[in-house]
């Protein structure tokens, strides 16, 4: 089967039910997408599939054939993604950083859908866990990125 990841086509030799996460990490070799829980609980594995946030640890690879998959590695090639990254750096959001690939992608998807999110919109959409508790920074950075528009 073929996968389109970051605008590149990869020939994939994985079982149909293999989680996209492990295809990305082990077969394609991109490690920015993180494994945190494997159970759709944490969001560390978030990628974008056709622009929507997707938890790759619970996405059978077969179900995303023919779709556009975007990982953190190329997020800055996207105008909104670029803005989010800059806001992240400016607000100094990450601590250990492990959750942040997922956070940046989730924030990018939110801002594409809703360029002007309220605090409540952010709380609704940003459901990825951060054990380092960088949540204040995440909210600040999303507001800042939104103002950049």
């Amino acid at each position: 089967m073929n996968l389109v990841i970051n605008n590149k086509t990869y020939e994939i030799d994985s079982d149909a039910d293999t989680p996209l996460l492990w295809v990305i990490r082990e077969e394609v070799g991109l490690t920015g997408t993180k494994f945190g829980c494997g159970l759709a609980q944490c969001g560390a594995c978030t990628v974008l599939v056709d622009g929507e946030p997707c938890r790759s640890c619970v996405t059978p690879v077969e179900s995303v054939v023919g779709k556009q998959i975007t990982t953190i590695e190329t997020i800055e090639e996207d105008a909104v993604g670029k803005k989010v990254v800059e806001a992240w750096v400016e607000a100094q959001v990450p601590q250990c950083g492990y959750c942040q690939s997922g956070q940046v992608l989730a924030a990018t998807a939110l801002l594409k859908r809703n360029p002007n999110p309220s605090d409540a919109d952010i709380a609704d959409a940003m459901v990825n866990l951060c054990r380092c508790g960088t949540y204040n920074g995440i909210v600040d950075a999303i507001h800042a990125a939104s103002r950049q528009a």
Binding site: A16, T18, P19, Q41, R55, V58, T59, P60
Partner: protein, 443 residues
């Protein structure tokens, strides 16, 4: 089994009081078996034959416990009056069934009477096993006597107190609800249908869960002669859906192949086994031959749907606008696996759109699986790649009611809304499924 027993024993209590006289002889009497006088015969079947029928009958699910020895018993079934425990059916002479003759074994399996004459609780599905053929009973006996390790493990006494622990009134229950006689082929039907009917009614005891029960906790029907048969039932916090032709709450939209695939692999495009069906799949149905599964599917598809199933479900697009209660929970907790469109992911993650538990007026299965997650589906020895987590520690009763009400009213689903009280009641009486695959050994 908890719930059947609870009701059953409550009603039994009344019986005990009412039936004070009469039939002492009857209640102590040991029924006759075609194998009377056969003693303990040697090798009557191959290991494969015996193991196959033991699988088809799913003996292991009740008579073994995880971390326990195969068939040494111990599974607790709680009731408000106390607990009963599945017994040791290994061939240990002291604590198991090592001294059972073939006839005694037969009486236990097909008639619910133990060697010493005491009556078994119908938690043991002998009303279904009554249909087993003589050959299958022999094979089963052979299997337990010669291929199962004897294990010295005393049966745990029930914790039910006198007088409710009296078993003899069960004899009268049998008079009312038990049909003796093995399965009789219906000559108007083909061989495949008859094989399917035998497996479903007899060893498979599908009706134990899927047929509604009457006032004395008896299954309302034991064959397709009655429309109540396999028409869906609530049991122990799970709603076992109709296996009849109903479009919404049954198998109306499933092909014979879909059914066979489901029983063989635990999944198909309509759904994945969950709740108590996980045990039945893990330990039983997947071990059946392709032909037998085909027969079962063929038989089930012959059962017509019943009235009152509503207009057939059709998929409708829903746009999630984060305004209805439950929508945010759905997006945050459910959508990542089941999809924003409720369609699931191929056969790997089941859809929420159009599934029985989201269409049925019974909401127990939907609530239960959200509260407790589901056990691991182990197909051909390989645990599933994706499991349903438990949400009891993450979502409040209100949140669960909201999210399920949302799901049950989206994408064409038309299940009634879920109330907080329904969630609360189930929360208290159910337990989370193990995140680890549970594999019960047979030998």
């Amino acid at each position: 089994m908890g719930k059947i027993l609870k009701k059953f024993i409550a009603r039994l209590a009344i019986l005990v009081v009412v039936v004070l006289v009469g039939g002492f002889w009857y209640v102590r009497h040991i029924p006759s078996s075609p194998f009377d006088g056969a003693g303990q015969p040697e090798a009557m079947a191959t290991l494969e034959q015996g193991e196959y029928i033991a699988r088809a009958s799913d003996c292991v699910a009740c008579h073994s416990v995880p971390e326990g020895k195969p068939f040494a018993g111990g599974l607790e079934m709680g009731t408000p009056m106390g607990s009963i425990f599945a017994t040791n059916i290994t061939p240990d002479k002291e604590t198991g069934i090592g001294n059972y003759t073939l006839a005694q074994f037969d009486n236990a399996v097909r008639r619910g009477v133990a060697a010493d004459g005491h009556r078994l609780y119908p938690a043991m599905p002998y009303p279904s096993y009554a249909k087993l053929s003589d050959d299958d009973v022999k094979a089963l006996y052979d299997y337990f006597m010669h291929h199962v390790e004897p294990v010295k493990q005393a049966n745990k006494p029930t914790t039910i107190k006198w007088p409710l622990n009296q078993r003899w009134p069960l004899a009268f229950w049998n008079v009312a609800f038990y049909e003796s006689g093995t399965y009789k082929a219906d000559s108007s039907k083909d061989e495949l249908w008859n094989r399917g009917a035998y497996l479903v009614q007899g060893p498979g005891h599908c009706g134990s869960c899927h047929t509604p029960r009457g006032p004395a906790m008896e299954e309302k029907a034991l064959t397709e002669a009655d429309n109540a048969y396999l028409s869906g039932a609530l049991l122990d916090g799970w709603y076992a859906p109709s296996l009849r032709g109903d479009h919404n709450r049954g198998l109306g939209r499933w092909s014979e192949e879909d059914i066979a695939t489901f029983l063989k692999t635990g999944r198909n495009q309509h759904g994945v086994v969950f709740g108590s069906m996980v045990d039945a799949f893990n330990n039983s149905t997947q071990y059946m031959s392709d032909n037998d599964l085909k027969a079962i599917a063929h038989y089930l598809k012959s059962l017509p749907g019943n009235d009152g199933d509503g207009t057939p479900w059709e998929y409708h697009e829903v746009s999630v606008a984060m305004v209805r209660p439950g929508e945010q929970s759905f997006m945050a907790n459910c959508s990542f696996c089941h999809g924003r469109d409720g369609k699931g992911r191929d056969e790997w993650i089941p859809p929420l759109a159009g599934t029985t538990s989201m269409l049925s007026s019974y909401d127990e299965s939907a609530i239960n699986v959200v509260l407790n997650g589901s056990g691991r589906v182990v197909a051909s020895g390989i645990p599933d790649a994706y499991r349903m987590p438990s949400f009891r520690d993450k979502l409040s009763d209100q949140q669960i009611a909201d999210v399920l009400s949302f799901v049950r009213s989206s994408w064409g689903n038309n299940g009634p809304a879920v109330t907080v009280d329904d969630v609360k009641a189930l929360r208290e009486h159910t337990h989370p499924a193990s995140p680890q695959p549970i594999i019960l050994q047979m030998r």
